[in-house]
Assembly symmetry: none
Homo-oligomer: 405 residues x 2
C-alpha cells in the first residue's frame, strides 16, 4: 500500500500492538520428519490456545520468489516497502556490528587483503586471517587512520578478515563505488561518486585517502598489507513510527542488526537478555511507555541456517513456553510471524511465504486448530505483502480511520 | 488492473451480467453464535443451490487493513481503482441526499451553527437542532441566498443540523478549502482555492459570498445564526460503463447514495422498491434493455451497523427467498458479494475481505457446499482486489478478448 493512502488515516489511540518476530520461522515439510515443518512438529500449547481465536495467513516478504536479507525482511514487517526503502550493505553491516549511525554517517563493509609490489590484489581475504589478528590490525588503523580533515573514521573488527568502517563528518554522501576489485589479480580501484552529488565525491576522496593511509600503516605487515571497502551507503532517512503511525514504538532484540534496523524506523531500542523470557519480561517492564513492541527472536533462524530441525523445534518450543508472560500483558493486537523463511533443508533464507497469526478482538476467529505453514494457508488473512501487515495491525488496534465516505 | 490493459480487450456482446451487492455482508464469526457468521447462520437454500456450481472467493475493497466508505467500496466493485478515482465528501453527501449533480457542479456538506457577536463559532452543530427546524432555515436560505451572479446554489436539508449545498454555474472548480474552523472558539475561515486553478478560486468566492449572505439572512435567528461548508468537491468525471466496458448498465438501488455513485459510472438508474423482491422485479421488467445490472441491497449493512446479528441473518434470508426470481432471468454471469464487511461485533464498516460468488457457464464449480466467509477462503477465485472483479465478470460473460497472441 502506498504510504500516502495509509498515513492520513492513522488515528491516535491507547491500544497496544505486539509484533513477535521469530526470525526465519517459516519452513518446508521435511520428508524425514513425516512431512512436518518445525512449527508443526513443535509442542506449542500456548500458540495452540491462540490459534483458533486468531486470524491466520501468510506474509510475502518482498515478492514471489524473492529471498530477502534481514534488512528487507524487517523493513517489510515494519511497513516500509523494501523495494523502495533500501538500507545499504555498509549500513546493515555497521548496525549488525553495533556501531551507532548518526544522520549523515556513511558506512562500508571492509576487508583486509594482500597486495603485491605493484598494488595488485593477491588475496582479497588475506588468507582468511583470524579475528584476533584482524582486530590487532583494526587497532593500528584506528590509531593512525582515523581522521581525514574534518571526517572521523570509526572502525570495528568483525569476523575473520572483515571489519566495518563508518565515516562521520559534514557533507558526506553515500553513492560511492566500491574500492574493491572483487577479484584477485587486479589493482584496487579508486572509489568514485556514483551520482552528481559533491557529497558523494567528498566521501570518495575520504575513502581513497583512508585506503592509501591503510597501505602506509600496514606496509610490511606479514598477514595483510591493504584494505578494501565496499557497500558504501549513508544512513537512510526513514519517516519513523511516531510520525508515520502515531505509535511510540519499542524494539526488543538481542542482536545488534535488528536493533539497528528498528532504530532506523524510529523505534526506541530497549536493553534485553537473550532468551524469549527475557524479551517478554522487557516488554512487561516497559509496557506503559509504548504503544508498539517489536520483539525479535533469533534462534529459529540460526537453527534453520544450521540445517538443524530439532534445534529449530526447540527454539520454537522455548518461545511457546515463555509466551504466557506476553499474553498476560493483554496486548490489543498480538502478531506472531517471521521476517522470512529459513528452511532447514536449505540452510539459508528463502522466498517461501511466512506463516502469520494476528490475534485481537476483531481479528476474526479462524477456528484453525494450530499455527503452522499448512493452517496458515487456510486462514482469513490470506497471503499479503509483509509491508501491508502494519495496516492490518493498525486496523485491528482501532487506529485507522475509514477511507472515503 | 489498469484500465489501459483491460479496456482494449473489451468485446461487444449480448450476454448479461448481474452484480448483486449485499451491502456490508461480510462479517466475523461470533463466539455467542457458535463462531458462525450471519451468512453462515442464515438459512439460504437458494444461495446453497448456486454455491457448488459457482466460483467462490474474496474481495479486498481497497487494500489490506483499509476500511472503505460506501463510495470507495462501490467504485471498486464497479471497476474503478478507489485510490485513484476519488469521489469527494460533498459529492457523496449530495448523491446520498438525492440531489442530482451535473457536469461542473460543486457540492459541499453544510452545517448550521451559532456564532457570537465577534463571529466566533460557539456551537458547530447549533445545539444539534432538529431536522424540522433545520429544514425551515434551509427554506429561508433557498429563498434569499440561492443566486450569486451566474451561480445557482441548491440546498437540501439533511439530518439534524446538516444540509447539502450544490453550486451550479460556469467555471467552478472543486479544490477549495473548508469554510469551517472544525472546532468551537474560532472564527469561520474564508474558503480559498487549494490549487492554482482560477475555477477553484471562483468557487471559493461564491462559498464566501453564500456564507456572508447566510449570516445576514439568519441574523437574529435564535437556534442558528450562521452556516459552515466543508468537503467541497466537484462531480468527478468517470469514463462510463458504455465507453469503458461496452455495457448498457442499469442500477437498481433504493438508497440515493448508491444510485448516485452508479450514475457517476454512467449507469441508468431505475426506479425500484425497497425489498429484494422489488429489486429483482425491476431487473426482470428491464431485462431486455440492459447488459449489466447492479442491484444494491441495503439492510445487511444496516443490521451490521446496529450490531444486530439476527437482523443481518433475516436480511440475508430475505434476499435468498427472493433470489429464484433473479436466477430465473438466467443471467450469463451472476455475482453475489458486498462492497465491504460490516461485522456485527464492530457495528461499522471494516477492512475484512468480503466473500464473493461468481456463477456462470465457465466460472468453475468449486463444489463448496455453501456461500459464506469460510468457504469463500477456499474458493477458486482466491482473494482479489474489488477493482479487478469487473474483469472477471466480463471474462465470464465472454466479453474480453485474449491479451496478446
Amino acid at each position: 500500500m502506498s504510504g500516502s493512502l495509509l498515513e492520513p488515516l492513522v488515528l491516535e489511540g491507547t491500544s497496544k500492538i505486539v509484533l513477535l518476530v521469530l526470525d526465519g520461522v517459516g519452513d518446508l515439510p521435511l520428508d524425514a520428519k513425516g512431512f512436518k515443518t518445525p512449527l508443526e512438529a513443535a509442542r506449542t500449547p500456548n500458540l495452540d490456545a491462540l490459534a483458533p481465536r486468531a486470524a491466520l495467513g501468510r506474509l510475502l516478504p518482498v515478492a514471489p520468489g524473492i529471498t530477502p536479507g534481514s534488512g528487507p525482511g524487517h523493513l517489510g514487517l515494519f511497513g516500509y516497502d523494501p523495494t523502495v526503502t533500501v538500507v545499504g550493505r555498509g549500513v546493515l553491516e555497521a548496525l549488525g556490528a553495533g556501531v551507532p549511525l548518526g544522520k549523515g554517517d556513511v558506512a562500508a563493509r571492509a576487508n583486509f587483503c594482500t597486495v603485491d609490489a605493484h598494488g595488485v590484489v593477491t588475496d582479497r581475504r588475506a588468507g582468511r586471517i583470524s579475528g584476533d589478528a584482524s582486530a590487532k590490525l583494526v587497532e593500528r588503523l584506528a590509531r593512525d587512520a582515523s581522521r581525514f580533515d574534518d571526517v572521523e573514521v570509526t572502525l570495528k573488527a568483525g569476523k575473520g578478515h572483515r571489519f566495518v568502517a563508518v565515516l562521520r563528518g559534514p557533507g558526506l554522501g553515500g553513492a560511492v563505488s566500491d574500492a574493491d576489485p572483487h577479484h584477485e589479480g587486479k589493482s584496487i580501484p579508486e572509489a568514485h561518486a556514483l551520482d552528481g552529488d559533491p557529497a558523494s565525491a567528498r566521501t570518495a576522496r575520504v575513502v581513497n585517502a583512508f585506503l592509501a593511509r591503510a597501505r602506509d600503516v600496514l606496509k610490511g605487515e606479514p598477514v595483510a598489507n591493504a584494505a578494501l571497502l565496499r557497500g558504501l551507503s549513508a544512513r537512510p532517512h526513514l519517516e519513523g513510527y511516531l510520525e508515520r503511525f502515531k505509535l511510540r514504538a519499542a524494539a526488543i532484540a538481542a542482536y545488534p542488526m535488528y536493533r539497528g534496523v528498528a532504530e532506523l524506523a524510529g523505534m526506541r531500542v530497549l536493553p534485553t537478555g537473550d532468551a524469549p523470557a527475557d524479551a517478554f519480561a522487557t516488554a512487561a517492564a516497559n509496557w506503559a511507555a509504548f504503544d508498539y513492541f517489536f520483539i525479535h527472536i533469533k534462534p529459529t533462524d540460526m537453527a534453520g541456517e544450521d540445517g538443524n530441525f530439532d534445534a529449530k523445534v526447540a527454539a520454537i518450543e522455548q518461545v511457546d513456553a515463555a509466551l504466557p508472560a506476553l499474553v498476560a500483558l493483554h496486548p490489543d493486537v498480538l502478531c506472531v510471524t517471521g521476517d522470512h523463511s529459513t528452511p532447514v533443508p536449505m540452510r539459508g533464507h528463502s522466498w517461501h511465504p511466512v506463516p502469520a497469526l494476528v490475534a485481537g478482538a476483531f481479528a476474526g476467529a479462524d477456528q484453525l486448530p494450530r499455527f503452522h505453514e499448512k493452517t496458515a494457508r487456510q486462514g482469513s488473512l490470506g497471503t499479503l505483502a509483509s509491508k501491508d501487515l502494519i495496516a492490518v495491525l493498525l486496523a485491528n488496534a482501532g487506529r485507522l480511520d475509514k477511507y472515503g465516505a
